[in-house]
Amino acid sequence: MDFLVYVLQQSINGLTLGSIYALTAIGLSMVYSLLRLINFAHGDLLMIGAFASLALGRGDALSYAAAILIPLAAVALLGMGIERVAYRPIRKTPEVTALIVSLAVSVIIQNVFVMTVTAQPRRFALPEALTRIEVLGPLVINRTAILTVGSAAVLLVLLQLFVTRVRLGIAMRACADDVDAVELMGANSNRVIMVAFGIAGALAAVGGIMLGGLYGRIDPFMGFLPGLKAFVAAVLGGLGNLPGAVLGAYVLGFAEIFFVGMLPPVASGYRDAMVFALLILILLVRPQGLLGSRG
């Protein structure tokens, strides 16, 4: 019985971490499906979201709503701006060029933050109403976890509706298949790509705020590792496949939590090594990912 409670408790942690990865991996996978670009700067959008929220959240309830919604909008706009300034000029160049540029964009973003807010980690606290501990029978649940899982679920459902019901979303999926054909049908692929970057930024901002809330500390480099892990999640599910990215994210979240929770304490130091060993294993046995198709 105790064991069952322990497993349930850990599953909640896995679900929470998986939700943050899902919010991050979706954007990476969406951008990849459109441009074949591995956007190394994507993880840094999490960091910007968290810092924007830190700057805005001061006390009353109204500002708390603002501390989530304004960063969401700001990072969405920033994501679109980065696309316009850095990625659009090099769109027709080979993939490797775009990869290097995204790497440089990432270093620029991180160091602009080092220059302005310093590399010193900051304390990051969500309002007390969102961090209270709920006791549910034998389970102890942090409200932040509920909020994280809940907001991820809502946003993912909204995104699914967008790409299946809204013209722009349908155009986005079409662009992933064949940009030239979409252009011939009279749709503006530039607008589609820009919107994709905006959505990716907004989701990452939410992920960053939740990540900050869970760990209680934020710094300019906090997005680097989650960004890479979200890429692992996207590859795990099938790069460019949106439901795959979500599935991969939750699989990865559970794998990480149970790796630490079920193995002897000595193993927990190897948590990050396990994630990237998993990436290499996936690339070896099923490079198209869990839901991807070959070709």
Partner: protein, 335 residues
């Protein structure tokens, strides 16, 4: 013909004289900087094998350097120091006190072995998967180095490494690496690498085995990265899991791209320029005053400037300083 034949030995001889002169005259800081420049030449020239000649983008150089440095350090560290710092080592490793050359080769070989293990699954896929897989490899290496306390002493790091590295070792290794690449550039394997970069389907149709050629280039690059790590550890005499991090990888990528990917001379020039430039930019980061105008310290500013430089180069001069034409121009369709 005889004049051309004499050119290489003559320039090597001149270079050796220059080194001998430098060795005596420079102070410790300058000597270290020149050594670091040599190590950077080694790193940039070897990264150029994959990122330039092969057109497959690796970000694993820091990881390979870390592997090489730890392997060699454990082999050269005096037994008495090992007994004090890492008493749980297996007896044969505890007793090992290798001379520098075999340790250097062992460090390189260990890095090359890791490259084969990573490269085998990843090099069959599209070029850019390697970027993330090798970055992941760097994190795996750092995680293991930080957690395997009984062998690496964890985050505390190993200090008191014998200071074997000097200008001779550094530049001999760099010369071997650059010469090796020059030979490769003119060999069948080198042409096969460039053919795969330009059009891998056409190259395969000509009977070039893509995986084998890519593995050779990737492992050779990792070997020299490992050697560079060994040299660095025996220069600084301290090794920690984060001695070589993503920042180093990024700097080496810059060296290759600014110098000229897929050329022999480019990365060498890039390494020299980008060893000197951050030293100059450090002035900027620490703040300075001109005629009463005080510029406050701006940490991170040099990284921003270097990144902007990288973007400008890749858009306006993708062939780098030495590239006659853009090697990164070629698209990497399905591999």
């Amino acid at each position: 013909m005889s004049a051309r034949r004499l050119l290489a030995p003559a320039s090597l001889g001149l270079f050796a004289l220059l080194l001998a002169a430098l060795q005596g005259r420079l102070d410790d800081y300058e000597l270290r900087l020149v050594n670091v420049a040599g190590i950077n030449i080694l790193l940039a020239a070897s990264l150029n094998l994959t990122n330039g000649y092969l057109g497959v983008f690796s970000l694993g150089h820091a990881g390979f350097a870390t592997v090489g440095a730890y392997v060699a350090t454990l082999l050269t560290l005096p037994a008495s120091r090992k007994a004090m710092m890492i008493p749980d080592l297996p007896p044969w490793l505890m007793a090992a006190e290798w001379p520098f050359l075999p340790a250097l080769l062992a460090g390189g070989a260990a890095a090359a072995l890791c490259a084969v293990l990573i490269g085998y699954p990843v090099l069959r896929l599209r070029g850019h998967y390697l970027a993330v897989a090798t970055l992941g490899f760097m994190i795996i290496v750092q995680t293991i180095a930080a957690s395997l306390v009984s062998i690496t002493r964890g985050a505390q790091g190993i200090n008191g490494i014998p200071p074997f590295t000097n200008l001779w070792w550094t530049f001999a290794a760099a010369a071997v690496c650059v010469y090796g690449i020059w030979v490769l550039d003119h060999s069948a394997v080198g042409r096969a690498m460039k053919a795969l970069r330009e059009d891998d389907l056409a190259a395969q149709a000509c009977g070039i085995p893509p995986l084998r050629i890519r593995l050779i280039a990737f492992a050779a690059g990792a070997f020299f990265a490992g050697v560079a790590g060994v040299l660095w550890a025996h220069l600084i005499t301290v090794m920690t899991p984060t001695s070589f991090s993503f920042g180093l990888t990024f700097l080496v990528v810059l060296m290759v791209i600014i110098g000229g990917p897929g050329t022999v001379a480019g990365p060498v020039a890039g390494a020299v320029v980008l060893t000197a430039l951050p030293e100059a930019l450090r002035l900027l980061e620490n703040g300075f005053a001109i005629r009463g105008l005080v510029v406050p310290p701006l940490f991170g500013a040099s990284q921003v400037l270097l990144s902007i430089l990288l973007i400008l180069f890749i858009i306006y001069r993708p062939g780098g300083l030495f590239g006659a034409r853009a090697v990164l121009r070629v698209s990497q369709e399905d591999a």
